[in-house]
Symmetry: C2
Subunit: 148 residues, 2 copies
Amino acid sequence: MSSMADGTTAEDLRARLHEQGLRLTPQRRLVLDAVTRLRHATPEAVSAEVRRTDPGLNASTVYRTLELLERLGLVRHTHLGSGPATYHAGDDAGHLHLVCEGCGRVEEADVALAADLVGRLHAVSGFEPDVGHMAISGRCRECAGQPR
Amino acid sequence: MSSMADGTTAEDLRARLHEQGLRLTPQRRLVLDAVTRLRHATPEAVSAEVRRTDPGLNASTVYRTLELLERLGLVRHTHLGSGPATYHAGDDAGHLHLVCEGCGRVEEADVALAADLVGRLHAVSGFEPDVGHMAISGRCRECAGQPR
DNA sequence: CTTACTGCAAATATTTTGCATTTGG
DNA sequence: CCAAATGCAAAATATTTGCAGTAAG
């Protein structure tokens, strides 16, 4: 019940680590699992999730592991507004993040919606947006009318 | 040399404050001046700037003042990547922020470039983006090719 | 065995808060 | 005068780091 297609991801993980003389530890497996399962999880949330399995797993290990997994290209992080960054599995990168200033919820939207913007930006200033990393704040349908 | 058209802004500030029974203090004037002069300044940068005039001005006053000015609609903040938020004068809001992951520089672009995206998002999910608050990370022309 | 990894505790960095004193109006 | 604002110091939050012990391969 802890994983679905995670067998593949775990193999990936092992392979990527060994390529660089690094080791596959239970902690690293747990962190990757948690990020995959939770979407848009803060380091704090990841810690809470992994501790359900290993209550002794330390926060600094979570931070170090997230950083490592990002270097390996297995997870990515985005800054959604004021709080801590949120992490998501790397193969889950193909969407825009819509952050509601009213209720704080995070929606996702197809990156294709930004195709026009990407093209224009590139034409105008040579800037190459990292679309999957883009956080757009605003108001969701429900919060749209309300004052604040 | 400390202000150009700031006389207007200072009047604005006084008026807005008095509307709500609040007071115009030298500290508040200095903070608004600094935000206007520096573009995209972190609270830290604002502190440094105001201390050039008033070395005793406390950091917590800067934080409190930035929050106040934002409530009054005179400044806005944006989260540009990992660091602290950056503040800019409110009437300076009409641009997108392009943050380069390579060199860290912040470019600005016309909000009109995002018109298509805004329309599509609204159509698809009812989401109303706050365009002036949008931070887009990616690679600027200079850093575009490079590995990382 | 060897060296990478973890846990822990302490150090940083950033922002917030309570309270006594000062000050704008 | 009096309520609002500041300065200061301590608290809260978020993240990083050094190091001694543990464990992957």
